[in-house]
Amino acid sequence: MKTRPFLVISLLLGFSFLLSIALGAVTIPPGNALRILLGRLPWFEFFGDWPSYFETILLDLRLPHTILVALTGMALAGSGASFQGLFRNPLADPYLIGVASGAGLGAIIVMSIPQVGRFLIPIGAFLGGLGTIAAVYRLAKVGRIVPLTTLILAGVAIGSFTSALTSFLMLISDEMILQAMSFLLGGSTVAGWEPLVIALPYFTVGLALLVLGGHSLNVLQFGEEQAQQLGLHVERVKLFIIISASLTTAAAVSFSGVIGFVGLVVPHIIRLVWGGDYKKLIPLSILGGGVTLLLSDILARTIMAPGYLPVGIVTSLIGAPFFLWILRRAKKEVFW
């Protein structure tokens, strides 16, 4: 397990993916699920000895949902790992500099305007998230430099400001309070293939950029001064990481709501097991984030079936004790 990290996590991801499309209000045996999926590819043909509604449930509902959940987990864990590396701080998560509270505000503004379709919620959230990051970045800039401490402080300040606005909007309009709460706890805002197709480019571009930033993050681990003396264009790298992590997080939050804990904890687990080289840590965190959120989402859909818990509640309720268990078991210190 220690020696083949990519193989191990990829297998886990495949397993969770299959489980996720199989389980739900109607259970589709994983063997059938796999054959239905493979049957869609041109070079396979299976005789369908299953009820035809299996195909409808699987292809029209479960599959897009599962892909979105996997991408969301990947985005959160990948940008969490990048932010932890950028700020050299184990407490950093994807939401540290305000993208989630900004996205929350954007989503709730859209919800509070009457006669506006639900399909606009992700767009409002996306603009809110990126707008907040842009404001935080501008505010933190001193001359041509963006000091990281100032960036965190500006992010926290803007974050509590936008959260307060969000709470205010929720309180004055009582019809949307449940819908808004669900978004802020990680209830997804969309279903079906169409939104997924819209979201896909943001996820893939964002995730690819995060992986590319791994080497620069390694150099940054020796501090900004040494990184510059080693030849890194530090300010450019900071901007690159902030843009790629924020883009990915904003995409995740817009379509899946605010899901806590995955972005904070998955990189730590990967770091404990496979070490702190960001060239490996980021892609491994991305895969691990997919696994974690898929499993959490399966629980969220099945614990109270046919009801559905916002997945953010599950990630924190189960993720926190699990992480504490790992932390206690890990005999070695986490090196920073």
Partner: protein, 264 residues
């Protein structure tokens, strides 16, 4: 000082720098020849570390110029600069999760692409640098698991891997015990002779400077107060002025080095 007909490899001309309104360096001019070790001394806050920051581009000069091989470096990009001038910082707990080899490989950052993939040449340079500083046997150990003296040698190896003509060292013997201090300075001297490097080294221990450097620069309050051979700079008047400390000077009977001893 060695006399030769080549122009100095590092030329500092009327260099000044500020932290906000505070003047940190004022009108510093000095040259470093190829194969020469120049020791920079001065009390705390004299501007030793600031000089290294300005030369390495971390702090912008407010006036003056720095030339390496007769080329002005203030317009250099970080990677161009890192290919002409390497810095050995003080050993601190940073990057503890990296192995010694990974850390030394980061010395090749200025030569690597954005993805940081090393080629054969990079790996050979890394191996060479680790052998020179005798940390190759630690290659797979984590930085957090090795001693302070070993960490300092890793930082020196990382700077060597940068493959630059000029090396800047910022109080490299701080926090090291006597054995590591002596070994590190011996190593620096050996590398200078063998590779023809030029070294500018900020130091606190005046007798170590005298034993290591070809020339000594005395800074106080951001200004250059004296420059010359250890005998010329480490005098009773100079030290009294800069440090407000009375000293005696003498020649060591065995090494013939110029030594000082506080008499207060």
């Amino acid at each position: 000082m060695k006399q030769n007909n080549h122009p100095p490899i590092l030329q500092i001309r009327s260099l000044s720098a500020n932290y906000g309104d505070v003047i940190a360096l004022k009108d510093i001019s000095l040259d470093v020849q190829q194969g020469e070790i120049v020791g920079v001394i001065g009390p705390n806050g004299a501007g030793k570390s600031t000089l290294i920051k300005v030369l390495s581009g971390v702090l912008k000069a407010s006036a003056g110029e720095v030339l390496i091989n007769q080329k002005e470096v203030s317009t250099y990009s970080p990677s161009q600069r890192a290919r002409t001038l390497a810095v050995v910082p003080q050993a601190r707990q940073l990057g503890g999760a990296f192995s010694v080899e990974q850390a030394v490989l980061l010395g090749r950052t200025a030569y690597l692409g954005f993805l940081g993939k090393p080629n054969q040449d990079d790996l050979e340079k890394v191996q060479w640098a680790m052998e020179q500083t005798e940390v190759d046997f630690l290659a797979d150990r984590k930085l957090a698991e090795i001693s302070g003296g070993e960490q300092q040698r890793v930082l020196l190896a990382r700077a060597l891997a940068q493959d630059t003509p000029v090396l800047l060292l910022d109080e490299p013997t701080n926090h090291l015990d006597l054995k590591y201090q002596v070994n590190l300075l011996k190593l620096v001297k050996k590398l200078v002779r063998q590779e023809g490097l030029s070294v500018l080294m900020a130091m606190h221990d005046l007798n170590q400077v005298s034993g290591t450097a070809d020339r000594v620069v005395l800074l106080a309050n951001g200004q250059l107060k004296a420059i010359g051979s250890p005998e010329e700079v480490l005098t009773q008047e100079n030290i009294l002025q800069a440090y407000q400390i009375e000293i005696d000077t003498f020649t060591h009977p065995k090494t013939n080095k110029h030594m000082i001893f506080p008499t207060e």
